[in-house]
């Protein structure tokens, strides 16, 4: 790692911040999207700043959506590697909120699990299916995801039974060549693109 850093001409302060971020990642306070950004920053700093800012904006937008939707919820670090297999439970994240944009729409989807577990989707391309499961040719991109827990009772106490665990996803759906309006997709499903033949 130090060899790569030296080759790309990164300053000492960047190395220090990378080490600090890595430490935070190891302690579970950072998420793996940030970790990716840190790794990318070590390679191509100029382009990554923009990517990182977008990812940061998307992440804060998703986090805000979760905490506004579920009063008293807690955001958890995404400690699952992008390369590891998603959950084996047959869950399909459902699109709960749609925000129309000029060139693309933002889809916010989520699902709960019986217990804390793996996400249903990795970051990257996903397909959209209707509420009955009919797969459309439309593709979106999951930009960020977030594990969280939400109370099952008002003023939930620390004991496990008062909480439930879920995953939330923020996906971007381009408007180009799409005959369906954004509102159509509320209640529809996100599918792992790799799982669609």
């Amino acid at each position: 790692m130090s060899h790569r850093l030296r080759r790309s001409g990164v300053s000492t302060s960047t190395i220090a911040s990378t080490i600090a971020s890595t430490m935070l990642l190891l302690t579970g306070l950072f998420t793996n999207v940030d970790a990716q950004d840190v790794r990318s920053a070590a390679r191509v700093s100029a382009t990554t700043i923009a990517v990182s800012r977008n990812a940061e904006r998307a992440r804060s937008s998703l986090d805000r959506w979760i905490v506004e939707r579920y009063r008293g919820s807690q955001l958890l670090a995404d400690s699952v590697s992008q390369s590891s297999a998603p959950t084996s439970d047959p869950v399909l994240p459902r699109i709960e909120t749609v925000r129309a944009g000029a060139a693309a729409d933002t889809l916010l989807a989520m699902h709960f699990l019986p217990r804390a577990g793996r996400p249903a989707l990795q970051s990257g391309p996903v397909r959209i299916a209707g509420s009955t499961g009919t797969i459309t040719p439309l593709s979106a991109t999951v930009v960020v995801r977030r594990q969280f827990r939400a109370p099952r009772l008002p003023a939930a106490r620390p004991k496990e039974g008062d909480w439930r665990y879920g995953w939330a996803y923020l996906a971007i759906l381009p408007k180009v060549g799409r005959p369906l309006s954004a509102t159509t997709f509320r209640g529809w499903l996100l599918l792992d693109a790799a799982a669609v033949k």
Binding site: I135, R164, G187, A195
Partner: protein, 508 residues
């Protein structure tokens, strides 16, 4: 001796002071009474003067009624009103759960008009009308011609008898029923069913005189079917009787807990109302609310939340934090007046306040705050589709659902029924539809419509409710609280076959 004299003189002083005090009080009361009489005389003189001198006057009783109405208007109490005997009876009847009419709710899609709901115990139910029946004619007028007519277009005489010609699936029988409008008791519990093996669903649509006993009966019966937790749907419930709201909430709270308090005119302490009949004090509950949840329905939601008995899911409630009383002025005239504010167990008023800023609104902010919590109709068609697309998908769904009923598919598990219907709908995709995305959306809507229509006509109302969870975001969010990750109707992803796509896109 001296001591005795002192006591006598002290007693005398107190007596004189007391007499003076009482005299002053009586004097003030008399002055006050004289003032009130003077005001009353002023009102009476004004009315007499208007009656005698005004160019376009009104009869005395009408002038008095309007004077009282004006007084109430100036109070700025949005719920205050003057009621004549018929209005008073209607108001009283609505709080008792009295309903009047046929008891039919109709749904129009394209040129079809279908019975979507028949109120239990209503004249339509007694006459044998069923949800899913298609209405062909009403009093010998084809429904396509009669729909949309207003009272002005037709005879002004009230409907005395509705002779309906209905088309009934699956055999396509034509059924004739005569329904005479009448009165019946509209149950406050409008839906009660098992959503999963252990989660029950109860919808309260009003808080009328028998609500708590109807709710108790419904939950008892669902518990006998295995209910361990409950989704209580208060969406669109505008409330009703405060005391019934207190009784209904009390069923789920420990006996003796404060459900709500009434805070009357200034000076008196709030009067607490307690849970008296406790039944289910540990059963997990989720309450669904929306902007139409008001008054006594808010009493229930707030009490269950303040006592940590239920998580509230939906959108902010209406915020009617006051109660009214009806005062009978004369045999012909009654007056409804806001007489108290009700407070939640935590001492908060939910009354909606007009103004600016975040604190300007009243109502209750749910624990799970959704974008939209309005009850979703699983029969709904996309609003932005063309008339042709809507007619085509509606007709294809109808034909597929009738086929399903004839073949007995409604007895299959929901995923199997859905998958068979999807295959039927696939063959009906119009050639005019452009683009794979549109075809997939058409197939999705057609499959959903065919499934719900088949379930409705087969009378599979529990299955219909379970299926509707997919469309109803608030119900799904409520279920997520009680059974996180519950998959009511398993969705099997399926692509539109290439053959269909190719056939539709190839030049003709």
């Amino acid at each position: 001796m001296n001591r005795g004299r002192t006591l006598w003189s002290l007693g005398g002083t107190l007596l004189v002071a007391g007499a003076f005090g009482i005299g002053t009080w009586f004097g003030e009361q008399r002055v006050h009474a004289r003032g009130e009489w003077a005001d009353a005389r002023l009102l009476s003189t004004a009315i007499d003067s208007v009656r005698v001198n005004a160019l376009d006057s009104l009869p005395s009783d009408e002038l008095i009624r309007r004077a009282v109405a004006g007084m109430l208007r100036e109070l700025q109490d949005p719920y205050a009103a003057i009621m004549r005997p018929d209005g008073y009876q209607r108001y009283r009847g609505s709080l008792q759960g009295d309903a009047q009419g046929l008891g039919l709710t109709l749904r129009r899609q394209g040129s079809n008009v279908t019975v979507s709901r028949v109120a239990a115990g209503s004249p339509a139910a007694v006459a044998g009308t069923r949800a899913g029946d298609r209405v062909l004619m009403v009093n010998d007028v084809p429904i396509a011609q009669g729909w949309g007519r207003t009272e002005a277009d037709t005879s002004t005489a009230p409907l005395e008898l509705a002779n309906l010609v209905l088309w009934r699936a699956p055999d396509g029988d034509t059924v004739r029923v005569s329904v005479r409008p009448g009165a019946w008791h509209a149950r406050a519990v409008s839906d009660a069913a098992m959503l999963t093996d252990s989660v029950a669903y109860v919808r309260l649509s009003s808080i009328t005189a028998q609500t708590s006993s109807e709710l108790e009966h419904a939950v008892d019966s669902l518990q006998a079917h295995g209910a361990e937790s409950l989704i209580l749907d208060l969406r669109g419930n505008a409330g009703g009787l405060f005391e019934e709201g207190v009784r209904a909430a009390g069923l789920f709270l420990k006996r003796g807990l404060v459900v709500a308090s009434l805070d009357g005119r200034r000076g008196s302490a709030p009067e607490p109302h307690y849970a008296k009949k406790s039944r289910w004090t540990t059963m997990p509950i989720t309450v669904l609310v929306d902007a139409g949840t008001a008054s006594a329905a808010e009493v229930i939601a707030a009490a269950l939340r303040d006592h940590r008995r239920a998580l509230i899911v939906g959108t902010p409630t209406y915020g009617k934090g006051v109660v009214q009383r009806v005062v009978k002025l004369t045999p012909e005239l009654s007056m409804r007046l806001t007489t108290a504010r009700w407070l939640t167990p935590n001492g908060v008023s939910l009354e909606r306040r007009h103004g600016v800023g975040r604190d300007a609104k009243g109502g209750m902010i749910p624990d799970v705050l959704l974008d939209d919590a309005v009850r979703r109709d699983a029969f709904a068609l996309p609003r932005d589709w063309s008339g042709d697309a809507v007619a085509a998908v509606s007709s294809a769904a109808d034909s597929a659902s009738v086929h399903a009923l004839r073949e007995g598919w409604t007895t299959l598990a929901l995923p199997s029924l859905e998958s068979r219907l999807q295959e039927r709908i696939l063959t009906a995709i119009p050639r005019t539809l452009r683009g794979d995305a549109m075809r997939a959306a058409w197939l999705n809507v057609g499959t959903r419509l065919a499934t719900v229509r088949a379930l409705e006509a087969a009378g599979e109302l529990d299955a219909l409710l379970r299926y509707s969870v997919r469309e109803d975001g608030a119900l799904r969010a409520g279920l997520d609280v009680l059974e996180p990750g519950s998959n009511l109707v398993r969705v099997t992803p399926s692509s539109v076959p290439d053959a269909v796509t190719a056939r539709r896109t190839s030049p003709r």
